[in-house]
């Protein structure tokens, strides 16, 4: 074998498709059993997670169990950068978040938002940074990835991908679609793994009121008949 390739392989810098073992990256449970199984463990402990989702279908609920567990374990800051609407503190408090450890940043421009995200990730005092950003480029993601590794933090990039774009160098990429029982998730990219088929995640257990259960087959809807 080519000596350089050999060297790189020994250094574990080259990933080969036949290596079916889990990557060395540490994983954190997402709080959803099905999703954990699909991701072979959960969200990465540090790095960038790219979530492509419309607003309001449950994209934040997907993250909450993981973020809450992180806050419980290390008590570092949770940062929201440039959310499109006000973050409701009632909801976070109800879920059990310590509001003192939450920051909301409203930068003036997308460029400043990226700067904030990088500073927060690098600082080492933030456990996770959620950034709403629409047009991010590959080199910017790389910077965020490095910053997240440096500060041992999780960066979640939330965007609505309108057009098909290049694959971003992220640890995990997911495309979310609305589904009555929860979410339809397609894993578009996973470090050290294959992207899978889209699957449905049932959130009924966590949020029974925000899911619609399918009618059992043996029940017929009562006919709307007008009484004359």
């Amino acid at each position: 074998m080519n000596s350089i390739l050999h060297y790189l392989k020994n250094k574990r810098l080259v990933w080969q498709a036949h290596q079916n073992v889990h990557s060395t990256a540490q994983l954190d449970s997402t709080g959803f059993k099905e999703l954990d199984a699909e991701l072979q463990g959960g969200f990465p402990k540090q790095g960038v997670v790219d979530i492509d989702s419309p607003v309001g279908i449950g994209e934040l609920r997907l993250l909450l169990p993981n973020l809450h567990a992180r806050q419980q374990s290390n008590g570092r800051l949770l940062v929201f950068i440039a959310p499109s609407m006000r973050i409701n503190s009632e909801m976070l408090a109800e879920y059990g978040f310590n509001l003192q450890q939450v920051l909301v940043i409203h930068p003036d421009s997308p460029k400043e938002a990226l700067w904030c995200a990088e500073q927060c990730l690098k600082s080492g005092c933030c456990q996770a940074v959620l950034l709403w950003h629409q047009a991010i480029e590959i080199h910017q993601v790389k910077r965020l990835q490095l910053a997240a590794e440096q500060g041992d933090a999780l960066h979640v990039l939330l965007r609505q991908n309108k057009q098909v774009s290049l694959s971003l160098p992220v640890s995990l990429g997911m495309r979310l679609r609305a589904h009555p029982q929860g979410l339809n998730i397609e894993i578009t990219k996973r470090k050290g793994g294959w992207p899978g088929r889209p699957f449905n995640l049932d959130m009924n257990q966590q949020w029974p009121q925000l899911t619609i259960q399918p009618r059992p087959d043996n029940v017929l809807p009562f006919p709307h008949s007008k009484v004359s």
């Binding site: 009632e90 909301v104 690098k122 080492g124």
Partner: protein, 468 residues
Amino acid sequence: MKNLWLYLHFPHLQLDTLFSQDPAEHALAILDSKTNTVLQLNTQAKEAGIALHMGLGTAAALDQSLQVIPYQADIERHKLKDIAEALYLVTCDICFFPPNGLLLRIHNMLNLYAGLDAYWQVLQNQLATLGITYDYATGHSPFAARMLARDAWNQVTNDYSIMKKRVGDCALKQTELHPKTIQKLNRVGIHSVANLLKLPLKDVAKRFDIDLVTYLGRLTGEFQHPMHFFHPPDHFHRYLELMFDIENTQTLQHPLKHLFAALEQFLKVRDLLTQQLMLTFKQRDKEDLLLEIGSAQGEYQAQKWLTLAALKLENLQLTGPVCAITLKTGETQVRSPDKSDLFSGKKGTLSALQLISMLQAKLGEDAIQGLALHNDFRPEVASAYSAPLIQSDTLRQLQPLRPSFLLQIPQPLREKVSIIHGPERLHTGWWDNKETTRDYFVARSTLGQWYWVFKTPDTQWYLHGIFG
């Protein structure tokens, strides 16, 4: 204990102050603008043949490239204060002799340093860091030390007989007596200090005025010499005159580095932190520009302040060239080192407060918010933004099923939605004239988005939140 004094004389303080960083390449002279004579000059000027007290015309004729700077007592006064502050780290009693002298009372320091030689060594090292030329001498009285230092005796001793002999050898011109008195003394055949000291004080008092007697008494050390010793200031306040005007905020960082280094030194020896710095940029022909830099945690390190200042400077618009900078500190506090767990693993470089200060420096105070809860049932009141890292104290039981995003102002609902849950009636706020009656529903749009909508009593539908 015998009294011992040390006088430090700085023969060209203004020249050293202005050019200590980068020595000039050509001849320089400081000129007294009243008499038009040379007061201070550098080596190049000396080589050209220029001497002290020479007129400007002669000096200019000797060296055509001579650069002339007017004498400014202010610069020397400021510098003298800086020197005193630096020396205060190693010696306690310092007295100003403006414009260019410092007197140190040293006999009470000798026990600490175990002898004069060791003390002088330490003092010399401290002076070396300042990069200033100085003449020095010890004396048995303040005036004796001053006279010998100004004569550039440059010796340190605690042997009174040597000092007294040396003082006696001085001519009357070197004393601080009024020229008229010196003339009178010369007329009666007294030319040196020794001659004068031989006369009994009583006789001197009969023939001459009381000022001479006082002077003699103080010179010999028989009379007490009243003096005010230097007390280091509580607050850092420094003025830096720039060598040349700066119009670019990037370039401003260089002089700021010097100021912050001085600040670090000041705060470090006092074990203090400051949370706020006030920088004033003096702009030529324009209004002064005030810049406040804050750090929530409190800092003393120059590097940290420089980072914060750089972020602030990015947004700063200079209206004119900056010719001087003043740096002041706000409130200071005693440093209490943060205790962090050694075993909790990887540590970042910043603390939460430092991070917030940095973000605020760049984006402004209002861009960084924390979350707070208020004791109210109205969702828009209950959920609020607050200053970051503030503990909110709410005991009210929290309502289940609240959306993660709230609209700032509820928007009329313009979409077709299907109601999934509800209603939840809120009828509250009658006490502060913002009475609200709303029936809240959880609804799902045709695209699968989960909405929090409400109906008013007059059946208007509004969108108030989104379940993210």
